[in-house]
């Protein structure tokens, strides 16, 4: 019983982190699905989302706004707006001018963008870890007495539920809306789509913006969950999310979700049963294995709809 509760606790820890990875992974997978390139500045956009949310929350606190749902919604909206405009700007500055050139060129300009954004936040916000207020506290307990108790915090539930909502809305958007259909068309054949009257520039910009908005959601959620943010924390989260996207099959949205969850759970199980030291070894080891044996990822079959 003890061991089972322990296992569940690690599973919950893993699913929480995994679903946040999935939210960030969407940004990689969508951009790859459309233009076949990796947006290396995406981790930084997530980090900026977290900073914007923190600044908004602090600002609201000084204004005396204390009603929690309102604070969270305003913070979320501000973070999404700022991150989306960053996503849009990254596309405009680092991708559009060099699109269609050799594949290395946009890659390098994106890395440049990432370095720029990281250092910009370093300068503007300082390089120290900043504490993020714990707004959602408390949780449920399972198990009794002195034995090990499994606890699920409200924060973990919030992360999981928010991710599910975002993923559902995104899937509906892609499958039902006009822009979503245009997205699918562009991802299948960009030249043909533009011949048929789709404004491909607008669609490409839209994928950057959507990915960035979801990264901002992850920024707010993980900022609150972890408890502190710093200008470098987008980098490693970006790597993990990228791994999740490749694991699930880059270009596939359900793949990003699956990849994120697998990565999160395998990390927490490694920390839980082996040692925290091997956490990153396992996650990046998984990436190598997938690239060696199934380069398209778990759900990334060519016939799967790519977006």
């Amino acid at each position: 019983m003890q061991d089972l509760l322990y296992f569940f606790q690690q599973l919950i820890n893993g699913l929480t982190i995994g679903s946040a990875y999935a939210l960030i992974a969407i940004g990689y997978t969508m951009v790859y699905g459309i233009i076949g390139m990796i947006n290396f500045a995406h981790g930084e956009i997530y980090m900026i989302g977290a900073y914007t949310a923190l600044i908004t929350i602090t600002g609201l606190a000084t204004l005396g706004v204390a009603w929690l749902p309102l604070v969270l919604i305003i913070a979320l909206i501000c973070a999404m707006i700022v991150s989306s405009s960053m996503g849009w700007a990254v596309e405009r500055i680092a991708y559009r001018p060099v699109r269609g050139r050799h594949r290395l060129i946009p890659l390098i300009s994106a890395i440049g963008m990432s370095i720029f954004l990281q250092n910009y936040v370093h300068l503007a916000q300082g390089s120290r870890n900043i504490g993020f207020p714990a707004l959602i506290e408390g949780g449920f307990q399972f198990g009794s007495g002195d034995a090990f108790q499994t606890s699920i915090s409200y924060m973990q539930i919030t992360i999981f539920v928010t991710t599910l909502i975002c993923m559902t809305l995104l899937s509906l958007f892609i499958s039902r809306s006009r822009t979503g259909r245009a997205c699918r068309a562009v991802s299948q054949d960009i030249g043909m789509a533009s011949l048929l009257g789709i404004d491909t520039n607008r669609i490409i910009a839209a994928t950057f913006v959507i990915g960035a908005a979801l990264a901002a959601v992850a920024g707010l959620l993980l900022g609150m969950y972890y408890g502190s943010i710093d200008p470098l924390f987008g980098f490693i989260a970006g790597l993990k999310a990228f791994t999740a996207a490749v694991l699930g099959g880059i270009g596939s949205i359900p793949g990003a979700m699956l990849g994120g969850l697998i990565l999160g759970v395998s990390e927490s199980m490694t920390s839980g049963y082996l040692s925290g030291e091997y956490k990153d070894v396992v996650s990046f080891g998984l990436l190598i294995l997938i690239l060696l044996f199934k380069p398209t990822g778990l759900l990334g079959k060519p016939e799967v709809e790519k977006i």
Binding site: N13, G131, F148, G227, S228, G272, E277
Partner: protein, 370 residues
């Protein structure tokens, strides 16, 4: 801002060298190397603040052998690669003496360069024993060693008669070194060490670690490392309903841990150098810091002040600005400093240095535990 000043210093230095052609310059350059930016910049602030005031006061009192001290400040971000870069820069600047570095993992590679280039280095903060283990002639410190700090922490834990203790570290030279010392002392005393495990510095998610600590049922957790990670562990431990008491080395004891951990920092145990700023004989110095609007209470402020003072004392005693002569003078002499009487052994370690256990509070204050 900084570059023009530095250029000016270099230009002045160069012109003096040209004029004097072979004579000693009328100033003594002291490199100050530590993190101005990065996750542990707070400690760097302490180092720079202490060293700057020491240089100001020594210069105001007429300098050293009639020559003025000039600071050359560099930022190593507490990154070993950056530390090597800035160490080489100090070599090019022609400094003879360095106060730094702060992080043990930076001090170690930088000290190789200083030793080779004949520069005397005094670290005010690096506690890793390895630094002075290599038989270097020009490497000193104004702080104790992990091998002194670890046992102080472990002996405190032993006195609390814990059921079992977990020891966690950040796999870095400083953190793992001190954690190993704590584990060994605990085991020698027959205390059960239920877990000895590393985490990755810079990581943010410690929920799995917290779950594991909870499962292990430990009543004390010793953490070897710095505050950004321990702050998060404390906070996530509270969220995960882990009730164990935490303890850490001086690397976790600063006010930044409160902004990260919030209330969860209450009751954290920290081994720190004694509060030199509370000593009666240092009150005049404390006022000088306060007059500048600076806080002398950080653990490395007065150790850095002392490092500069020792360089000055060493030069005066050796009657030479040759770092090798100064090193000999430091090894043979006994010096009255704000951190007490300093005497060095052959390795460059202080013959005695005391660590004290403090209890940390959620408002950033601390009280000694006895």
């Amino acid at each position: 801002m900084k570059t023009p000043v530095k250029k000016l210093v270099t230009a002045v230095g160069a012109s003096i060298a040209l004029m004097g052609a072979g004579h000693a310059a009328a100033e003594i350059k002291i490199g100050i190397a530590g993190p101005m930016t990065g996750p542990v910049a707070q400690y760097g602030d302490m180092q720079f603040s202490g060293s700057r005031l020491a240089i100001e006061r020594i210069n105001a009192a007429g300098g050293v052998m009639g020559e003025q001290l000039v600071a050359v400040e560099v930022d190593d971000v507490c990154d070993p690669k950056q530390a090597v870069t800035v160490a080489n820069r100090l070599v090019n600047e022609g400094v003879g003496f360095v106060v730094g570095h702060l992080c043990s993992s930076s001090t170690q590679p930088a000290s190789d360069i200083y030793e080779d280039e004949g520069i005397l280095m005094i670290t005010p903060a690096s506690t890793s024993p390895d630094i002075t283990e290599r038989g270097y002639e020009l490497v000193f410190r104004t702080i104790g060693l992990d091998s002194m700090q670890g046992p102080v922490a472990a002996n405190y834990l032993i006195s609390q008669k814990p059921k079992s203790v977990a020891v966690v570290h950040d796999k870095q030279q400083y953190g793992e070194g001190i954690a190993t010392a704590v584990r060994d002392t605990l085991q020698d005393a027959g205390v059960e060490v239920a877990m000895f495990e590393g985490i990755t510095a810079g990581d943010k998610d410690f929920s799995s670690l917290v779950t594991k600590l909870k499962q292990a049922g430990v009543d004390y957790v010793y953490y070897g490392g710095y505050h950004p990670e321990l702050g998060l562990i404390l906070r996530q431990a509270r969220q995960g309903d882990l009730d164990a008491k935490f303890m850490g080395p001086e690397g976790v004891g600063n006010k930044d841990i409160n902004t990260i951990a919030g209330d969860a920092a209450e009751g954290l145990l920290v081994t720190l150098p004694p509060s030199f700023d509370q000593k009666a004989e240092n009150q005049e110095l404390v006022k000088a810091f306060e007059a500048k609007g600076e806080d002398p209470s950080g653990p490395f402020v007065l150790t850095s002040y002392t490092a500069v003072q020792l360089i000055a004392n060493g030069i005066e005693q050796a009657k030479s600005t040759d770092p090798v002569d100064v090193a000999k003078a430091l090894r043979s002499g006994s010096f009255q400093t704000p951190i007490g009487t300093v005497q060095y052994d052959e390795k460059g370690d202080m013959k005695s240095f005391e660590f004290v256990v403090y209890e940390w509070h959620s408002d950033g204050s601390k009280t000694p535990v006895n």
